[in-house]
């Protein structure tokens, strides 16, 4: 039984180190959103772009660009105060898959402004992508 748990651990570590689950989630979301005629070729093209981007340091193909983040913020901030509550902010990050349920975020008492929201989303996305 020793061999089994060490193999499993090994496999889990591998998944974490290369952030395979995030990559696969991104690929699946892209496929379901764009619904290409030939899914395999489409996946190959995304992976090729990722590979080149990593080698040459070119900007990575983000799933959500700035206009998406802006519209998401607007949806959350229904009364146009200019900031969203902390709970909303945490839920939004969870929906985007950028933070886990257990993670503790600092609540500095004031609301979260658009600037802060956008910077945080970009920072976390960058973190995930740099591991690929």
């Amino acid at each position: 039984m020793e061999a089994r748990s060490s193999r499993e651990l090994q496999a889990r570590n591998y998944l974490e180190k290369h952030r395979i689950m995030d990559l696969l989630t991104y690929l699946t979301s892209a496929l379901l959103f764009f619904r290409p005629e030939r899914p395999r070729e489409y996946l190959i093209s995304i992976l090729e772009r990722l590979r080149i981007a990593r080698l040459s340091g070119v900007a990575l193909p983000f799933f959500m660009d700035n206009s998406n983040i802006a519209s998401m913020f607007e949806m959350l901030d229904s009364s146009n105060k200019g900031s969203i509550s902390f709970v909303q902010y945490k839920e939004a990050l969870k929906t985007l898959g950028l933070c886990t349920a257990e993670e503790v975020l600092k609540d500095d008492g004031h609301g979260v402004t658009f600037e802060k929201f956008r910077n945080e989303v970009n920072k976390r996305t960058q973190e995930i992508w740099s591991a690929f």
């Binding site: 499993e8 689950m21 696969l24 496929l31 379901l32 395999r40 992976l47 990722l50």
Partner: protein, 517 residues
């Protein structure tokens, strides 16, 4: 029993499923997404890729994934055939290999290879000890699986083919005949990442096998195995060539059988879900067809699946009953078209004014109005989330096209066949009690007391002429509908409801059968 790395695949798949499950997200997901996912088998695609990643754990996952996607070998045959001596393994394996155009690997073929130092080693060992050591056999297998298909390569070099691709055996699939022989071999193969998708075990009583083995003959040129009684070659030149192989007499066979039984018991637990035992005590052709059907079915996958079921059948075939049973057991939404229209009128919704005149005059409601009411119902959140069971619509090809164009494509269609007499029996004996409102059937659910029986009334729509008319109408349109829904499953509706329900259940849960060309 230790598990190989391929076992962590299912847990990764569960996490994948969580990310794809439409029902956990509160916001609405357009139905095109899960439809696309189902049609292109996206879940299985991702699951296979994840499994390969976990088995090989490459340092650089992205090029590995690109390579895997380009190979596109998720569905090639990967079969293992096991069985006692004289069960017909090799014959079945050869026929399958020819039929599926894939490669056959057996102990004899591996050690007979030329140009390989490993094979020469193995041959020496076999001559001395009559068996090949495990590690050597495994390494021979690995070598063979990695090498490229020599025949194709020579064709390319003669310019006979335009393509410049070279395929390895992994791309065309493989069939293992009689490997693994022992549990150790089975485990080693698993750790190397060679895992079959189907395992067939032939079985027959020992006495039959011993007798059968006495009649075994081999054709030295083609290597095919014939039998003096069961499988005698028609051409006389083959008949003259046949040789008696060594080791077919009773003592030898009995010894080999003992060893086989000892080993097989410990190999079988390694392949729990993909195993199928076929009785070898029947004609070769029957065994072959059973094996072929099994190998061509895919196993149940873990993909998220929202059933959208369509039940078609003449009046009285039991559609409403089955729909109610399905709704109760699986939480699907029961959408009965007639009911929907009546509710629309009763609720005095915006459609009630449109539909009411048709009800009064007893004419069929036109298609576009039905479609509007139906659309409204099927778009509601609970239908999208939990799936639906539709019956009573579409009744002809135009309605089917209309539904299809609006994007409501069912993923399981069932046709219930019931002969005319059964329908008459079921419907003409229906009665309703006007006071309590209970519905009875004079044969299947008789009323409890004479008092109730005397006051029972029959619905005028249940008269024989009416039923006949409706059935004729259905059968006129059913041929076109069956053609339109090519993947439909036809069932015999003339059985008790729970039997029919079980058939419908298995039709929904298992993958749609691939039509054999």
């Amino acid at each position: 029993m230790t598990r190989g790395p391929s076992d962590s695949g299912p847990q990764g798949a569960a996490a994948l499923r969580g990310s794809m499950d439409a029902t956990t997200a509160p916001h609405r997901i357009p139905p095109q997404m899960p439809q696309y996912g189902e049609a292109n088998h996206i879940f299985e695609l991702m699951q296979n890729m994840l499994e390969q990643l976990l088995i090989h754990q490459p340092k650089d996952p992205i090029p590995f994934m690109i390579d895997h996607l380009q190979r596109d070998n998720d569905y090639v045959p990967k079969i293992v055939i096991l069985g006692p001596p004289a069960s017909g393994k090799t014959t079945i394996a050869m026929w399958l290999a020819k039929h599926l155009s894939t490669n056959l690997l057996s102990v004899e073929s591996l050690i007979a290879k030329e140009y390989s130092p490993l094979a020469a080693d193995a041959r020496m060992h076999y001559q001395k000890f009559k068996m090949v050591p495990d590690m050597l056999l495994i390494r021979l297998m690995q070598e063979r699986l990695k090498e490229e298909d020599c025949v194709r390569r020579t064709l390319f070099s003669y310019g006979l083919s335009q393509s410049t691709e070279q395929s390895s055996l992994c791309d065309t699939g493989w069939i293992l005949d009689g490997i693994p022989e022992t549990r150790e071999q089975a485990l080693t193969i698993q750790t190397l990442g060679i895992s079959p998708r189907h395992v067939i075990v032939l079985s027959a009583p020992d006495t039959i096998l011993i007798e059968r083995n006495l009649g075994k003959r081999i054709d030295p040129q083609t290597g095919e195995i014939y039998h003096t009684t069961f499988d005698w070659p028609p051409e006389s030149e083959i008949q003259n060539r046949l040789m008696v192989p060594a080791g077919i007499f009773e003592g030898e066979t009995a010894r080999k059988l003992l060893e086989y039984h000892r080993n097989i018991v410990r190999i079988l637990p390694s392949y729990p879900k993909i195993l199928k035992v076929i009785s070898a005590d029947q004609p070769c052709v029957d065994v072959f067809y059973q094996a072929l059907t099994y190998v061509q079915t895919s196993h149940r996958s873990n993909a998220p699946f929202t059933p959208r079921v369509l039940l078609c059948g003449p009046v009285g075939s039991g559609k409403s009953l089955q729909a109610a049973l399905l709704a109760q057991k699986y939480g699907l939404i029961n959408v009965c078209c007639g009911q929907l229209l009546k509710e629309a009128v009763a609720d005095k919704s915006k459609y009630s004014d449109l539909i009411q005149p048709f009800f009064e005059k007893e004419i069929a409601v036109p298609d576009n109005i039905i479609m509007k009411v139906l659309k409204q119902r099927l778009d509601q959140q609970d239908c999208v989330e939990r799936g639906w069971v539709l019956h009573g619509f579409p009744r002809d090809l135009d309605q089917a096209h209309l539904m299809d164009n609006l994007g409501y494509k069912p993923n399981r269609v069932f046709f219930l066949n019931v002969p005319f007499d059964s329908v008459i029996e079921r419907l003409s004996l229906r009665r309703t009690d006007p006071i309590t409102g209970e519905r009875y059937h004079l044969m299947y659910k008789p009323p409890p007391t004479i008092e109730v029986q005397t006051r029972l009334l029959q619905n005028p729509k249940d008269s024989e002429e009416q039923i006949k008319l409706k059935m004729d109408l259905f059968y006129r349109n059913s041929a076109e509908l069956e053609q339109f829904y090519g993947d439909a499953i036809t069932l015999n509706g003339d059985q008790d409801p729970y039997t029919v329900f079980e058939y419908i259940e298995s039709g929904i849960i298992n993958r749609l059968p691939k039509k054999v060309p």
